[in-house]
């Protein structure tokens, strides 16, 4: 059994402690622990967090291995401090059967960089017409609990209602990509002052908000829980806040890019800023940060969406939507939430590990840093300052909106069940 001693880290940003890992579990947490027989990781000044959990990742395998594979995606995840990622269902073929979700699950386990928990499609082929075999995916080796047609909205109110009801039988949750399709035909960017000037088709906030309003009411009516993907507008925050105040079982996520970037960047017509839902306004960004701080928004999820270079090296209208995010998420959260005083590191641990693991029912993840728990841990150096260079990414894709930006913080070590996947900032 291999032993690792993490010496002198601020656990969840609080007291300085030593953490002894023995095999796959945390053996002891305390001060002045003996280093005998253990590899020592000096963590002076660093923050120890529970391994991060991403409820919203696109790994692209099977089908688009030119942009990402389970291997490259989980290496990127480990680099970013993640020990578990939920892989979205919009692959080719779609993850709408037990066979596909088991394949993705198994690939994640075999590679060993980060646990992969597949998300199952709500409807067959993401077409919004017929429920996929949700029970079969849950009962498979992959044990799917989160279902989503992400990329597409489950816009039919009856299908959404039935899905919400059906997954109650096994504690599942539907994660909705809230986008009213008719209001967003030809949509290219946030509808507002900038789209009016640039002559790009508008994606109005109301197209998101109207679906969220409908779905929280549906969830209340049938007594189900519902999760809202990548919430992006100030209006959506108000609806979720209202729903929670009524006791509706709703959870919501925000992406790092919606916490930092605005639609002003689209003036460059550089498709690296093209994403769905689109970058919104400063007012929205500030509302999202506040909502993440006060718990209205439960978690940060990356919506890591790799695309090959040629799909972004073109005119705006022809470009694919999406940004990679696994390797920059924690830095963006540090900049937008920690350094602004909105959230402390314990709060970061909650929004990026405890809460997403709870929503997705991820076993062994999002656990306290205490003796007897699985050793899924992330060590962060918050004093680090670096300029983002996509050439350094472990992801197969480079479509980051942060190229050339200085971001704070760096993941120095990631441990998956006691095994170091990242050592001194490099993949092990």
């Amino acid at each position: 059994m291999s032993k690792i001693l993490i010496r002198g880290a601020k656990v969840l940003g609080g007291d300085v402690q030593d953490v002894l890992i023995n095999g796959e579990t945390i053996a002891e947490v305390g001060t002045g622990l003996s280093a005998e027989g253990a590899t020592v990781v000096e963590a002076d000044g660093q923050i120890l967090l529970p391994g991060l959990v991403d409820l919203h990742t696109h790994l692209r395998e099977p089908g688009r291995e030119d942009s990402e594979t389970v291997l490259t995606g989980t290496r990127a995840a480990a680099s970013g401090g993640y020990t578990a990622v939920f892989a979205m269902a919009n692959t080719h073929p779609v993850a709408d059967t037990a066979g596909v979700v088991e394949q993705v699950y198994r690939l994640g386990r075999e590679h060993g960089y980060c646990d992969v928990q597949p998300i199952g499609a709500v409807t067959v082929g993401l077409e919004g017409k017929k429920l996929a075999e949700l029970g079969a995916m849950h009962d498979s080796a992959a044990g799917v609990t989160v279902f989503s047609d992400d990329g597409k909205c489950v816009d039919d109110a009856v299908i959404m209602r039935r899905a919400l009801e059906y997954v109650k039988a096994f504690g599942g949750v539907v994660a909705q990509h809230a986008q009213e399709p008719r209001l967003t035909e030809g949509a290219q960017m946030n509808e507002g002052v900038v789209s009016a000037e640039l002559g790009l088709g508008g994606w109005p906030a109301v197209a998101e908000e109207s679906i969220i309003a409908r779905d929280v009411l549906l969830a209340e009516h049938v007594g189900s829980r519902v999760h809202i993907c990548h919430l992006s507008t100030a209006g959506s925050v108000e609806i979720v806040r209202w729903a929670k105040s009524r006791g509706i079982d709703v959870t919501a996520e925000v992406t790092p890019h919606h916490l930092l970037l605005t639609d002003e960047l689209v003036r460059s017509y550089d498709p690296v800023y093209k994403v769905n839902p689109p970058l919104r306004t400063e007012k929205d960004v500030l509302a999202l940060r506040e909502a993440l701080a006060d718990g209205t928004i439960d978690i940060v999820a990356t919506d890591h969406a790799p695309h090959p270079h040629e799909d972004k090296d073109c005119e705006w209208a022809a470009a694919a939507m999406g940004m990679v995010g696994l390797e920059t998420a924690l830095s963006v959260v540090q900049q937008t939430m920690v350094e602004t005083g909105l959230l402390d590191w314990a709060g970061v641990a909650d929004r990026m590990s405890f809460a997403p693991a709870r929503i997705g029912r991820a076993k062994g993840h999002g656990r306290p840093v205490s003796a007897g728990e699985p050793a899924n841990l992330t060590l962060v150096d918050p004093a680090y300052r670096g300029v983002v260079d996509p050439a350094d990414f472990a992801s197969r894709s480079r479509n980051t909106p942060y190229e050339g930006r200085e971001l704070p913080g760096r993941v120095t070590h990631t441990f998956l069940r006691g095994r170091a996947t990242v050592v001194d900032g490099k993949l092990a």
Binding site: G202, S268, Y269, C314, W316
Partner: protein
């Protein structure tokens, strides 16, 4: 003078007046028996048209030929683009053949900006209309036409359009002509009013330097020029307005409405006109309508832009060589 012409919003008042004044000089060439200047001899200009537009393409071609440039016309239909070639590869292919300037028309808003700023090519880029974004040479030829008619051909030299009241009517939402004109006319000191049904005005228009009205009749008596924008019939299928007849009744310009305009006021249209929809034949064929002049002025304006961008300005050429090192 700038290196590219992408948006009317990029032009300063002095830039714009310089282009209009240069265009007046160019217009004199058209009055000569031999309508040609040697200015761009040995230079190659490519008209890169990803969207059908015969009139704009011909106008640029006429301007290029009058300046003695070698002209290459590239239309996307039937070309490698229809086989899936990217904008980047198409542009680089053309540049490799030694093109000195690219005139681009594209259905995607921002495509000319991308071409000019992404480092794909070095040649100056002139936007000949991109999506629903900009059409700067159209705005310049419109301003040129207004200055001639409302200020005077000789009296207008060196002048802008300060205090002139200009009204644009029609599908503002889908119009690059409207966007370009609002930007340029504002820069030139004119007071602009947009008139349209609320469905055809973009959300976010409140920051534009102009007024918005839904009532054409109330605006007409206060207009020195009224520009009718083309309205596509298909828009009614997407519920932008109920029927062609209702649109025409509320926002079309007929003889009766034209009579409400001040006597000196002109009627403009960027073409192609949809007669019976936004404009009646009576108005289109009247003396007040400048549609045909606008076409002629378009050639002069495009000559001026090519001249100033490619070689007219003495300091421009060495600066460009410097950059290419």
């Amino acid at each position: 003078m700038m290196r590219h012409l992408i948006s009317a919003a990029d032009l300063t008042r002095d830039d714009a007046v310089q282009i209009l004044d240069t265009a007046e000089e160019m217009a004199r060439v058209a009055d000569r028996p031999i309508k040609k200047l040697p200015t761009l001899r040995g230079r190659t200009v490519c008209n890169l048209f990803f969207e059908d537009s015969t009139r704009t393409r011909i106008s640029f071609e006429a301007a290029e030929k009058r300046l003695s440039a070698d002209v290459i016309n590239f239309a996307a239909k039937g070309s490698s683009v229809s086989k899936g070639e990217s904008l980047k590869d198409t542009a680089q292919t053309l540049e490799a053949m030694g093109v000195d300037a690219v005139v681009i028309r594209h259905s995607a808003s921002g495509a000319p900006y991308r071409l000019a700023t992404s480092g794909w090519i070095d040649a100056p880029v002139i936007n000949a209309g991109d999506g629903t974004h900009q059409h700067p040479t159209q705005a310049l030829l419109d301003a040129f036409t207004m200055r001639r008619r409302l200020v005077g051909r000789d009296a207008g030299l060196g002048q802008d359009l300060a205090g002139k009241r200009i009204t644009l009517v029609g599908d503002v939402l889908h119009s690059r002509v409207a966007r370009s004109n609002v930007d340029l006319l504002h820069t030139l000191g004119a007071e602009v009013t947009l008139v349209a049904p609320p469905t055809l005005v973009p959300v976010g228009v409140e920051t534009w330097p102009c007024d918005i009205s839904y009532d054409l009749d109330s605006v007409l008596p206060k207009s020195d020029a009224v520009m009718m924008l083309r309205v596509q019939r298909e828009r009614m299928n997407a519920a932008f307005f109920p029927t062609e007849r209702e649109y025409s009744r509320r926002y079309g310009l007929d003889g009766e409405r034209m009579a409400k305009m001040p006597e000196h006021a002109i009627v403009m249209h960027p073409g192609p006109m949809v007669r019976g929809m936004e404009i009646t034949a009576e108005v289109a064929d009247s003396d007040r309508c400048t549609v045909v002049e606008q076409v002629a002025n378009g050639v002069s304006i495009r000559m001026a832009v090519l001249y100033l961008l490619l070689g007219g300005n003495d300091s421009a050429t060495p600066a460009r060589t410097e950059e290419n090192k």
